[in-house]
């Protein structure tokens, strides 16, 4: 198991290299770079700009640029953000933390609601409650996230119950520890609900489907034939089998959150990795973009490795060599 994890982590390196190179190539294909904006500024001299370009090797071709960047990254130096005028690593750290908080909140929200709801609907298949929740799920799935966000933001600004966007209130720094927590939680509500709703809907359907399939399997009937109580049949025998495929999805959902959350982060002005990516691309902030891409990719792969480990833990049939 340990060797398996080490090997998986080792394979992470070439994957990240390929991914970041494609990213580098893509942003270089876009016309111009960050300094083209500076060149139009008469207060900055040509010499200063060429000096910058030389310093960051931007006057060279894309392969050389990438090579220098890679060498620096291997020393944990992610370069310098042109737009923020600080090292990229500092921005990433902060943004990663913010995205982590949002992701954690979304994961808790979705999974704690979707899994029990899926089980409930499967056990009560075709009854009114099952149909009702299925109907809600389809609404949740079909409502576009950005529209839902705007709807909630409108509601927030009209009623004033919830803050409309951002991560902290104005006087955040003066609040006590508990006050800070409450303030952050309030800001989390809208993005969490928005990102979570479509997630709950999909997961609920999946969990319901898995559960229905398992409930029809022969070992569940065999468990009933043994004279076990219905609770034991459902929650010990069926559930354990139905939850297994969800573990793989859990890993995937970590990555899905990072990309899927971008739009919501932008609309809710949540300072996470997703909205950072957009800013970086727009201002052609090369190193910030590359760093952000690397970080997102890293999290994605870690998500899948985590899922594999979890799966081996819950399913005795899976053994990694």
């Amino acid at each position: 198991m340990a060797t398996y994890i080490i090997r998986r982590l080792f394979f992470l390196i070439p994957l990240l290299i390929i991914m970041s190179f494609i990213g580098f190539l893509a942003i270089n294909l876009a016309p111009g770079n960050y300094f083209d904006t500076l060149k139009q500024n008469p207060q900055i001299s040509r010499e200063t700009i060429s000096e910058y370009e030389a310093k960051y090797h931007l006057d060279k071709d894309v392969f050389t640029q990438y090579f220098y960047w890679l060498v620096n990254v291997s020393k944990f130096d992610f370069g310098y953000s042109f737009a923020y005028k600080i090292p990229v690593i500092k921005i990433l750290k902060l943004r990663l933390f913010n995205t982590f908080i949002l992701s954690l909140s979304v994961i808790l929200f979705t999974w704690l609601i979707a899994i029990p709801l899926g089980i409930y609907c499967a056990v009560n298949q075709h009854k009114f409650s099952d149909r009702f929740f299925s109907f809600l799920s389809f609404i949740g799935l079909s409502i576009p996230n950005f529209f839902f966000t705007l709807l909630l933001l409108y509601f927030a600004s009209k009623t004033g119950i919830l803050p409309s966007g951002g991560m902290h209130s104005l006087g955040y720094e003066d609040l006590s520890g508990f006050g800070k927590f409450i303030d952050l939680s309030k800001h989390l509500v809208i993005p969490t609900v928005v990102i979570g709703t479509s997630g709950i809907a999909g997961l609920q359907r999946l969990m319901r489907g898995n559960m229905l399939e398992v409930l029809r399997s022969q070992y569940v009937m065999a468990a009933r034939a043994k004279g076990l109580s219905e609770n034991r049949v459902i929650y010990v025998h069926a559930l354990r089998n139905a939850i297994n495929p969800m573990v793989t999805i859990f890993g995937g959902s970590l990555s899905g959150l990072l990309s899927g959350a971008a739009l919501t982060e932008i609309i809710c002005s949540w300072p996470g990795l997703g909205s950072l990516m957009l800013e970086a691309v727009r201002s052609q902030d090369l190193f910030l973009f590359a760093g952000d891409l690397l970080m997102t990719g890293f999290l994605l792969i870690i998500g899948y490795i985590l899922a594999d480990i979890l799966l081996a833990w819950v399913d005795p049939r899976i053994q990694y060599q």
Binding site: Q218, A225, G227, S229, R317
Partner: protein, 320 residues
């Protein structure tokens, strides 16, 4: 001899939006205490559904529409759920067709036997249960049981898994064991081993066995009595010697005729012409009439009454 189980007028239907499938229709069957009764029929003739009906395992969209299942003087269909749950496994046990898919893949076999003993005997201590599991596994011929109770189902072959299922089914010493095609998914040598095991255990533990099968050769070796099922009904019932010597119902005759004979290698294998009656659209009258060589007009209109033609030999056919 006293009857351990009596099924009267049992109707089990499955409902869907398009059709109503009459899986079991007007089933009447008496099972004598201590005997081995073989329930024989083609696939989809309602054998398994009959077994599930007895076990109370018919679930939506299936429903027992009417009938009585008398076991130990009480109608199982009228029992509250909790009481029926206590009977399942304790008094009547079921061994399924595919051992591989009857064991939960995520739990050790030790746990799966243990939970059954615990469900029916709440006072047994952990040590007692552990001893009992080892004893059971020994009895069904799992070698080195001590080291295998912590193994998962995927560690066992099909034959071993069926032995474990049998051990489990017998863990609470049931009076009646229903084996639903217990050897169908196993290869021939293992089939013989498993049948021998059944017969040996029956002598040791003294239970009544209903053996559901489509294998007539198997019946001749183990069964005391045979009931032949076609399209959800029993069409003929007799002692084993009688049915082999003197099969009367055209369907039973056809079944015997279709057993491959080693001597007549060159002759083509005899088959029953036509296809098994579609349970959602059974033929009118006698369900067998489209395939029957004796069919007359009245067979298409009415279902022949089930009658006893000689002591212990009953059938439903107008033409005999």
């Amino acid at each position: 001899m006293e009857n351990i189980l009596e099924i009267k007028n049992l109707h089990t239907y499955f409902f869907s939006d398009e059709a109503q499938v009459k899986a079991v229709e007007n089933l009447n069957l008496k099972v004598k205490k201590g005997e081995v009764l073989a329930l024989v029929g083609e696939s989809a003739c309602g054998k398994s559904v009959s077994a599930y009906s007895v076990m109370g395992l018919i679930d939506s969209p299936g429903k027992i529409v009417k009938g009585e299942i008398i076991f130990k003087g009480q109608d199982l269909l009228k029992l509250p759920k909790k009481k029926m749950q206590a009977i399942r496994g304790q008094d009547i046990s079921l061994v399924f067709q595919e051992p591989g898919s009857s064991l939960n893949p995520l739990y050790t076999i030790g746990l799966q036997i243990d939970e059954m003993i615990r469900a029916h005997n709440k006072t047994a201590s952990k040590e007692d249960r552990g001893k009992r599991i080892l004893e059971l596994l020994n009895k069904v011929g799992i070698s080195n049981p001590q080291s295998r109770i912590k193994d998962y189902p995927y560690n066992f072959s099909g034959g071993q898994a069926q032995r474990i299922m049998i051990a489990m089914a017998l863990s609470c010493e049931p009076k009646l064991l229903i084996a639903d095609e217990p050897t169908t998914s196993l290869d021939v040598t293992i089939q013989a081993q498993i049948m021998n095991l059944f017969m040996r255990l029956r002598q040791e533990l003294d239970f009544t066995l209903i053996l559901i099968t489509h294998n007539l050769a198997l019946c001749s070796e183990v069964a005391d009595r045979v009931a032949i099922m076609y399209a959800g009904r029993i069409v003929e019932e007799a002692l084993i010697e009688e049915i082999f010597k003197n099969p009367l119902h055209p369907y039973t005759k056809a079944l015997f005729a279709s057993i491959p004979q080693a001597e007549s290698k060159k002759a083509r294998l005899k088959v029953i012409k036509g296809a098994v009656a579609d349970p959602s659209a059974k033929p009118s009258g006698c369900h067998f009439h489209p395939r029957c060589p004796l069919a007359k007009n009245r067979c298409k209109v009415n279902y022949p009454e089930y009658r006893e033609i000689s002591p212990g030999h009953s059938l439903s056919c107008f033409e005999i």
